[in-house]
Amino acid sequence: MATEDPNARLLQVKDLEVEFRTRDGVAKAINKVSFDLDKGRTLAILGESGSGKSVTAQAIMGIIDSPPGFVTGGQVLFRGRDLLTLPERERRLYRGQRIAMIFQDALSSLNPVYKVGFQIGEMFTTHRGMSKKDARLKAIELMDRVRIPGAKERVDDYPHQFSGGMRQRIMIAMAIALDPDILIADEPTTALDVTVQAQIMELLAEVQKDTGSGLILITHDLGVVAEVASEIAVMYAGRIVENAPVDEIYRSPAHPYTRGLIDSIPRLDSKGKTLYAIKGLPPNLTQIPAGCAFHPRCGYAQAKCAVDPAPPLVAVTPDRTSACYFWREVQDGNA
C-alpha cells in the first residue's frame, strides 16, 4: 500500500524472515515471525540470547547490519503500509518520529563526545527544523519529564557523567521526544540494578499511558514483564512458540518451553528443593533441529516433533496460540 490507512492496525508483522550469512553458514535468525500491536497496548517479546528478539526489533526499525544480515521475507505493516518495501529515504522518516527505539546499554548507545542535551535536541533540529537554542530548551523539558533531577544544569553534561539509571532515562527521553506511535524497548533494564530496574519500568509504563503509544518490550526477564505487558510472545530459535495475554501465560502456559521458563523462576515456597532448569542449551542458529526446534530439550517430545515442518501456531483459546502439538498435555501438567 502506498499510504497509511488510519483504520488499519497500528503494527502487523507477518511471516518475517531474517537470515545472517556468515563464514560458518547461514543463520536463520528469524523464521516466519508474526504478531500484531495496537495503540496503547504493550507486547512483550520474551526469549533467551539468540532467540531472535533483538533482531526482530531491528528489522522493524530497519537498522540491521547488512551485510551480514538480510531480510528475506515477510511484511512489516505500519497502518497497512509495508515498511520493508519503502525506499530508504522514506523509511528513514519513520525512524525516531513514528517508531522509536530504546537500547539496552545506554553507556555505549550514547555518543560519548556530545552533550546529552545536544543528543536529545538532535531529534528537534533534524526532524522539526528547530534552532539549537529551542531544541536545548525542549531537551530540558524532556529530561524533566523523565524525572532527571536538575535538568537545567545537567543538560550540558556528557553521558559518562550520569549513573546507569539516569542514562537510561536519557535514552527514553530521546525516544519519546517526537511522540512516536510505537516505542520499542530492547532490554531496557538488563544493564541496571534491580531497584533501578523497577523505576525504569515504572517510567516506561507511565510514558506509554501518557502518550497512548504502542510499546514493544524485549526482554529475557519474566519478572520485568509481569508488571508492564498486556501480551507476551515467547520466542525460541527464531520462531514464536507461544502468544498469550500476560496472566494466562503465567497461570497456565501452553508450550513446554514457556512452561520450563516459568518453572525455572525460584519461588519463596520452594525452600530446600533443587532449582529447576531446562536441560540443554539453545541450538546453533546455523544448525536448527528439524521439526520443532525445542524438541531435543523437551519432556513432552515424541517422534513427530523431530520431523519437518515445524508445528504451526494453533489456537488454544480465541486469543492464545501455541506452536506445540501437545499443548493440552502441557496445560494439564499445570493443574
Binding site: M61, I63, D65, R92, L93, Y94, R95, G96, Q97, A100, M101, F103, D105, S108, S109, L110, N111, P112, V113, Y114, E122, M123, T126, H127, Y158, H160, Q161, M171, M174
Partner: protein, 308 residues
C-alpha cells in the same frame, strides 16, 4: 578542563628535565672521552676543549654540570661550532625555514591523510580502499631518504615539475616537494589509522542509535563518527611529530634546505658532535611542547578525558 591542563603541565616538567638530562648524559657523560668525535675527523683543538670544558663544567659532578648546562641553554648561551660560529645565531636563521617546511608537511599529513582515511574507511573493500591500503603500505616500508631520492629523481630531474634543490631563502613553492616527502610516512600512518578508527566506530552502538533516531546517513557519519574517530588519530599525530622532526634532518639534507635539519645534517657529516647535540636537544624540546598542545587538543575532542 583547567585541572587537566594544569596536571599535564606539571607532568611535563619532570619529563623535560629527565629528557634533557638523559641527552646531556648520553653526550658528555658516557664512559670514554666526552670530546671524542665532537670535532670532526680531527681531534679537537686544545682551545676548543678548554672552552667546552669550561662552558659545560665537565669537571663538576654530573648534576651540577647538567644544571649549569640547562641554565645556559635556557638563556640562549649555546656555544660555538668548531669553526667558531655562534650556534644560537645559526639556529635563529635556520628555524623559520624548518618551521615552514614542517607546517606544510603537517598540512599535507592532516588533510590528505585524514581525507584518504575517511574515504577508504567509508567504502571498505572498494577500489579506493585497496588503493589506499597498498600505497600506504609501500610508503611505510620505504625509508624517508629513499623516498626523498626517488621523488627528487622522478619529479625533479626526470619530469622537472619541481626544483631539484631548494633555493636560498626557501620560498614556499620550492618547499612543496620536500614537505610532501617529509609528510609521506606520517601521512600513510594517519590514513591507515583513520580508516581503522572510522570502520570501528561505524560498528559501534551509538551509531546504531543515531540511525534509529532517523538521522540522515551523512549526518550519522560526519557528526557521529568522524569526530569520535579523530581521537586516536590526533594522539598519533602528536606522538609522530618526533619522527617528522627526525625525518626533517634527512629531507633537508637531500633537498639542500638550510633549516635546522640541514644544520644537523651537515654537522653530522662533519662529525661536529657539539653542534649535533645542541640542536638535537632543541628539537626534542620542541617535540615535547608540541605534544603538550596535542594533549590539550585531545581533551577538546574527548570530554571523558577532561574529568579524569
Amino acid at each position: 578542563m583547567g585541572r587537566y591542563v594544569l596536571r599535564r603541565l606539571l607532568q611535563m616538567i619532570p619529563v623535560v628535565f629527565g629528557t634533557t638530562f638523559l641527552i646531556f648524559w648520553m653526550t658528555w657523560a658516557l664512559p670514554g672521552d666526552p670530546l671524542a668525535g665532537k670535532c670532526g675527523q680531527r681531534p679537537c683543538s686544545p682551545e676548543f676543549i678548554a672552552a667546552v670544558r669550561d662552558r659545560l663544567n665537565l669537571g663538576d659532578p654530573l648534576i651540577v654540570a647538567y644544571a649549569k648546562f640547562m641554565k645556559n641553554f635556557l638563556t640562549g648561551n649555546l656555544g660555538d661550532t668548531v669553526s667558531g660560529e655562534n650556534i644560537a645565531n645559526l639556529i635563529q636563521t635556520a628555524f623559520p625555514v624548518t618551521f615552514r617546511l614542517a607546517l606544510l608537511a603537517i598540512v599535507f599529513e592532516v588533510v590528505i591523510g585524514i581525507g584518504a582515511g575517511i574515504l577508504s574507511g567509508l567504502r571498505r573493500g572498494g577500489f579506493f580502499d585497496n588503493l589506499v591500503l597498498i600505497s600506504t603500505l609501500i610508503v611505510i616500508s620505504i625509508p624517508v631518504f629513499v623516498i626523498g631520492f626517488l621523488a627528487q629523481y622522478f619529479f625533479g630531474i626526470k619530469l622537472g615539475w619541481f626544483p631539484v634543490t631548494v633555493s636560498d631563502g626557501a620560498p614556499w613553492g620550492d618547499l612543496v616537494l620536500p614537505a610532501f616527502v617529509l609528510a609521506a610516512l606520517s601521512l600513510a600512518y594517519v590514513a591507515r589509522l583513520m580508516r581503522a578508527s572510522l570502520a570501528e566506530n561505524l560498528r559501534s552502538d551509538f551509531v546504531k542509535t543515531a540511525t534509529a533516531k532517523g538521522l540522515p546517513r551523512r549526518t550519522v557519519i560526519m557528526k557521529h563518527t568522524v569526530r569520535n574517530s579523530l581521537i586516536p588519530v590526533v594522539t598519533f599525530i602528536g606522538a609522530d611529530f618526533g619522527v617528522l622532526l627526525g625525518g626533517a634532518i634527512v629531507t633537508e639534507g637531500i633537498f639542500n634546505i638550510s633549516g635546522i635539519g640541514g644544520l644537523t645534517y651537515s654537522a653530522i657529516r662533519l662529525r661536529e658532535g657539539a653542534t649535533v647535540v645542541t640542536v638535537t636537544t632543541l628539537i626534542v624540546l620542541v617535540f615535547l611542547i608540541v605534544n603538550l598542545f596535542v594533549d590539550l587538543l585531545y581533551a577538546v575532542l574527548d570530554p571523558r578525558i577532561r574529568y579524569e
